[in-house]
């Protein structure tokens, strides 16, 4: 059942990939959707089996075959369905199903629909391999696989050269992270001698195999991988560019699932991270700075998807803060809720773009709420959820992160709160500019703007509901012990096996008084309120329109240009690399090496010419040479 769950999307991929072009579009689309849906249903069944009241299981383990067995290296092609994987699987297949469904309508005009669904299915498959693999190698397979699918999907509209460039950028940046991950894997293997989670973590847990320095190194190397995949400083610049892909792709890959693989990796490796406070600090600070930086940039973006992209980067940063503070449950909780509302927002933006016939600039929009009521409503819910409107899903998860940060370090808390606050500003800015005010597009008649079909709005509605109630997954303590901490209980379940729970170390107990908790909540809510009021005043009441990028001044210009990070990278890495390549090609390879080789030849020929000059045809000289030769022979041998 487990295997079928994983391979269903692959089957979907194969069918669509091989014979898709002969199928009608709807068939292709529904086929792809069905594959993921089937997977989702199986995932639910598996999850039930795992958590059944009678006889709870720690994990379902299934080995298919030995992938590699060479020397000391042994890698099984095996799956492990445990609680962490289960949560991830449900998100991936669940949201995946919705987005597939949505795509049927969204992509219906595209000739390459079958290809799109093939790629999406392939992505789901790889993602499942990533989270369900029973060892780090399997994780790495999926890790690379989703990177590839991301590449394929970002560059889906291959005729556009810029899209292709964005796709390659994403892949290459991911590969930088992958190298770190790969080295981390090598270090893991050379230290602990296995990739299998269960063996590995029990070895780590018994704690005799390695010094904490090694664990720190492993943790940092793995984190480099996570940086790449989850778009953290310094490897985050690919994610905004990745918005070149079709919007469902952004929703599925670049918001809900793939980018959270980094979080998954760190949670998975909790045993190792827990041994290295230093690595945790690094994770936290990187997460924090990414979160703030991305939020700031988000303030001045005018592309609806770019805003969401930076928002994603920022939210991912928040999750890493949680991880750095040791609040693993909080991070995973935020992964879940973020998946709901960010997918919702992306799909909503997709709906807008669809309705606007592929216009993405919010400055060209406005007043859409009347034309697109469902989209408006759901988008509103999404916005409220992400900005932390009380008792929506984002509120709980974000607060949990903030509280763990508070417990860990007050400064971090302050900064994280700031970041969360900025979220409110850019989200409401975008929301108001898009849906309120007046319609500003002169190329495209307001009348032609239309609400999206049911196939697209249905997923929106479902996700909206989830965004509202998603917080129930892990309610905070102050709402009552009985219903709170569901996720935490799930993850720290100990079945008494060799290595039982996902979270083997107790979380940093957040032992805050209820007063403090409520004070923090109040702060968070007040930040939300300020953001809401300010933006509403500016964009709805005053009806101002964001300036075009070119018109930005001062700090706004810096923000609109994303702190010039891309340019800096170009200058610091790309340009030197290219010129190094040119220099090596021209001077080292062509000039130095080849001429060294040819020089031997030329030298030989020169000598040859000289010898041939000696042979001048005059017998007198010949005789003289002979005599000289004889004389030398005699001289050397007789005297």
């Amino acid at each position: 059942m487990l295997t079928l769950m994983i391979f269903l999307p692959l089957i979907g991929f194969l069918i669509n990939g091989l014979v898709g072009r002969f199928l009608p579009k709807n068939v292709s689309g529904w086929l792809g959707t069905a594959a993921v849906l089937g997977s989702f249903i199986l995932a639910v069944m598996n999850f039930n089996a795992l958590t059944a009241e009678a006889g709870q299981l720690e994990s379902i383990h299934q080995k298919l075959f030995t992938f590699l067995h060479v020397g000391s290296l042994h890698v099984d092609f095996a799956f492990q369905f445990d609680r962490l994987s289960a949560v991830m699987t449900l998100i991936i297949t669940g949201i995946g199903t919705l987005i597939h469904m949505y795509s049927i309508a969204y992509m219906h005009e595209d000739d390459g629909l079958y290809k799109f669904f093939a790629y999406l299915n392939l992505f789901i498959f790889n993602m499942l391999v990533l989270v369900l693999g029973s060892n780090y190698m399997m994780l790495f397979f999926g890790w690379e696989g989703v990177g590839l699918c991301s590449y394929l999907l970002i560059g889906f509209w291959y005729k556009n050269v810029d899209f292709g460039k964005a796709a390659r950028k994403a892949f290459v940046m991911n590969r930088i992270g992958d190298l770190g991950l790969l080295l981390g894997l090598f270090l893991i293997y050379s230290t602990y001698g296995t990739f299998e989670y269960q063996d590995l973590f029990s070895r780590v847990f018994t704690g005799t195999d390695a010094s904490s320095n090694v664990n720190t190194a492993i943790a940092l190397l793995l984190f480099i991988g996570a940086m790449g995949k989850s778009a953290q400083i310094p490897l985050y610049t690919w994610l905004p560019d990745a918005m070149a892909g079709p919007t469902p792709v952004s929703a599925l890959i670049h918001a809900a699932t793939m980018v959270t693989a980094g979080i998954y990796l760190v949670i998975r490796s909790e045993a190792i991270y827990a041994l290295s406070p230093f690595a945790n600090e690094i994770v936290m600070w990187i997460g924090l700075s990414t979160s703030i930086l991305a939020a700031l940039i988000g303030l001045k973006q005018n592309d609806i998807k770019k805003v969401l992209a930076y928002s994603t980067v920022s939210q991912l940063g928040l999750m890493f803060i949680a991880l750095g503070c040791g609040a693993y449950t909080a991070a995973l909780f935020h992964v879940i809720t973020h998946a709901f509302f960010k997918a919702l927002l992306f799909l909503g933006s997709g709906s807008v773009i669809h309705g606007m016939h592929h216009e993405q600039d919010i400055r060209q929009m406005g007043g859409l709420r009347k034309k697109m009521p469902i989209t408006y409503l759901t988008f509103l819910i999404g916005t409220l959820a992400i900005t932390g409107f009380p008792f929506l899903s984002g509120f709980f998860s974000k607060d949990e992160i903030l509280m763990s940060a508070f417990a860990h370090n007050k400064l971090v808390f302050g900064l994280a709160l700031m970041s969360a606050g900025i979220t409110g500003f850019y989200m409401f800015r975008m929301f108001f500019v898009t849906f309120h005010g007046t319609y500003r597009n002169h190329h495209h008649a307001y009348e032609k703007v239309h609400e999206s079909p049911l196939l697209m709005t249905l997923p929106l509605l479902v996700l909206a509901v989830l965004s509202v109630i998603g917080g129930a997954v892990n309610l905070p303590h102050y709402l009552g012990e009985g219903i709170s901490g569901g996720l935490h209980h799930l993850l720290s379940f100990d079945g008494g096996g060799q290595f039982s729970p996902i979270l083997i170390y107790p979380e940093h107990a957040i032992e805050l008084s209820h007063t403090a908790e409520i004070a923090l909540l109040a702060m968070a809510v007040s930040v939300f309120v300020i953001a809401f009021l300010y933006t509403r005043n500016k964009y709805v009441v005053k009806g101002s329109v964001p300036e075009a990028d070119a018109d930005q001044q001062g700090m706004g210009k810096v923000l609109a240009n994303k702190f010039y990070v891309d340019e800096a990278y170009d200058m610091a890495f790309v340009a030197p690399l290219e010129s190094a390549s040119d220099v090596i090609t021209e001077y080292v390879d062509e000039k130095a090496l080849k001429s060294a080789v040819d020089g031997v030849g030329t030298g030989g020929y020169g000598l040859s010419k000289l010898l041939s000059k000696i042979q001048n045809g005059n017998i007198e000289y010949y005789l003289l040479y002979m005599v000289i030769g004889i004389s030398l022979l005699l001289a050397f041998n007789l005297f």
Binding site: G604, Y605, S612, I619, Y625, M626, G629, L633, L634, N637
Partner: protein, 464 residues
Amino acid sequence: MIALFITFFAAVVLLFLGLNKKESSFSNLAVVALMASSICSFCNAKGLCNFAILESWVPANMMLFGYSEHMFASLLAFVAAVIVFAFRKNDNLGTDQLGLIMFSLCGAFMMISYQHIVMLFLGIEVLSIPLYVLAGSKKDSLASNEASLKYFLMGAFSTGIFLLGTAFIYGGTGSLELEMMGIKPSFMHAMEGMPIATLINAGLILMSVGLLFKVAAAPFHFWAPDVYEGSPNRTTVFMATIVKITAFVAFNKLLSTFGGIHNTWSGWLCVLGMITIVWGNLAGLVQNGVKRTLAFSSIAHAGYLVMFLLILDESKTWILWYYGFAYALASVLVFLIAHQSATDKNPVGFDMFNGLSKRSPWVAFALVVGVLSMAGIPISAGFDAKFYLFSFAWQSSPWLVGLGLLGSAISIGYYFKFIKHAFLVKVDGDETAVEYNDKGLMMLIAALLLLAGAMPWVLLKWVF
């Protein structure tokens, strides 16, 4: 001995019989005689027949035909037969040139079988003097004249040197017989005022110079490119193959006699070998003429063969034989193709091979086999020859072997030119008509080279 007799009488007969007839009408007779010499020698060596009566006519301390001498005689006669056959279409009036070739061959037989320095000297002269004449046999060609005069003057000069060496050796050892020379030095120490060691050293050097001149080893090789270029093709091949092999056999015999004091001569000989290899191969690179290139190639081969001289093992004579076999056949093949390909417009340059692969592919194939064999590329006989030579010379002269390998690499540079012009340069032209006999001969030689290369053990088992 039998080879010497057959060849000699055939030469005399030819000389008188065809006084006023075209040479080509008698070349078949010469070929038959030479083949007869070859076969008889072979049979004699193998003990299939016996010509003891002939042997008895010449004292054993002057000339002696043992097994290996017979084999060499057989090889030389065979090569000579091939040469005569290959270049048979000579419309010279009179058979004097055929006669001269065969007289020269008689000299070669004397050189390979000498037991007495007088015979060596006579052999050299009998070998050389006809060649002086043959080199100039294109009487109205200035190049031929020049080649002839150069060869003659330098040859005579080197004879003088050789003779001085002989005299010194005579003084040093007190004898001119090989057997006695080897043992005498100690006996002669008794005589007052004789700087014996110096005399022997100097004598050996000077005699060696005479022989090194014949094999065209540096720095006594200067005549070779010029003379090869100026001489008629047939003479050139003769010089490149028979003279070289013969001189090496004779040289080897001489040095073996002084094997007891090899530490006095192996050093400089090795150095000369090195110079020869480097010089021959390097200078070959920039040559534009086919024959000049082959001349330098032959110089380089002389350098390789110096290794053989340093092996100093009687039982390894077969290496020289096999090397000579491979080298001579390949040379004949390449010279023959060059001879056939030369046009009035371009008698010397590499352009003569242009588009050969299109014009007559089989000839081009034979050319490749010949050239690759000279270069020592498997699976040609040249490779096996080099392999035997280098592997057995390693012990005695490792550096020379190293340089030999390097030289082989350099030599690719000019051997390549043949193939380049034959295969790479395209020309518009008709198929060149090559006579079936010639084509057959070329293919035969090529096949021999390939077969001997692929299964050298079979050949060697049969021969030695």
